[in-house]
Amino acid sequence: MKRPLAVAGDSNMNKKLKQEEEEMSKEAEAVLLDDNLLTEVLKHVDDGRTLASAACVSKQWKRTAHDDQLWELICTKHYNRTPLQLRTVVLALGGFRRLYSSYLWPLLKPSSSSSSSPPTVSAWPCLPPAPAAVPTRSKARWGKDEVNLSLSLLSIKYFEKMSFNNRGK
């Protein structure tokens, strides 16, 4: 039997993995979630850190946790009805996962004096420092304002890159 090409090989790999997983589960009597069920569980995660660390659990989890729709759920949880254009714009600018990790998270994390502040924040010295009012003990509280701000920052960065590319031409 001919081996399939690398491109089509993914689905075969998935099948093989699933078979192996099923075999493993029969032997060890461990319950293993497939991609769909895993997505169902991850849909209920509303903390970006949890979703990001989920990507480090295994390759299957990374694939699933990188689904932009899951990140969209986290970013838009404060909207009753997500504005229709929001998804189009965010996807064009790099997706919700990028929005969260590069722009939303730096706004949300407690403003400590740690030296590990991400470079993105310092790239805009004209911006006021992250609001000190964000409670540091439990989860950061955030709303549409933070999302809108991070969306603006995402757009600015995108257009900065664009004009840089154009200048080089």
């Binding site: 060890a28 569980v41 849909k43 209920h44 970006g48 850190r49 949890t50 299957q60």
Partner: protein, 152 residues
């Protein structure tokens, strides 16, 4: 209104235990509802993917949520107690709820698992979910490095 409230169904688990349930409760499971509507109901209905221990739990949840006399907050209180189970049981319940297409149970279970995950490290998640780590040391380092803020 038909007499479906008095109609009973027999559900048979994978280990051949039979459970009698009210049809009105059982149709919360869309898989069963479809069988009933398509008049494909055999007697008993075999559920090959659900064992008796899990089926009993599903039926407990199903009947509680079918009770019209209970308020939503009472049902929520029940849910909170219901999910206080070993994590492996929760995972098995998720598989069963998925197989039976029981949305409400799925939501409660997935929400519980997700909320518990928030307190766990990567290793703990692997252990609880029975995940084999298929990353090499370098690959895992690289994966963590993609989102270092998640581990601060």
């Amino acid at each position: 209104m038909s007499s479906s409230e008095e109609r009973k169904l027999i559900l048979k688990s994978s280990d051949n235990e039979e459970f009698v349930v009210k049809e009105s409760s059982a149709v919360q499971c869309l898989t069963i509802k479809n069988l009933v509507e398509d008049r494909c109901v055999s007697d008993p209905i075999p559920l090959a993917n659900v064992d008796s221990k899990i089926l009993a739990l599903v039926i407990e949840f199903m009947e509680k949520h079918a009770e019209t006399t209970l308020s939503n907050s009472e049902k929520k209180e029940f849910d909170v107690e219901f999910v206080k189970k070993p994590f492996d049981d929760l995972l098995e319940l998720i598989l069963a709820a998925n197989y039976l297409d029981f949305r409400e149970l799925m939501d409660v279970l997935c929400n519980t698992c997700a909320k518990q995950m928030e307190n766990w490290s990567v290793e703990e998640v692997r252990e609880k979910f029975n995940i084999q780590n298929d990353y090499t040391v370098e690959e895992e380092k690289a994966a963590r490095a993609e989102n270092p803020w998640a581990f601060e």
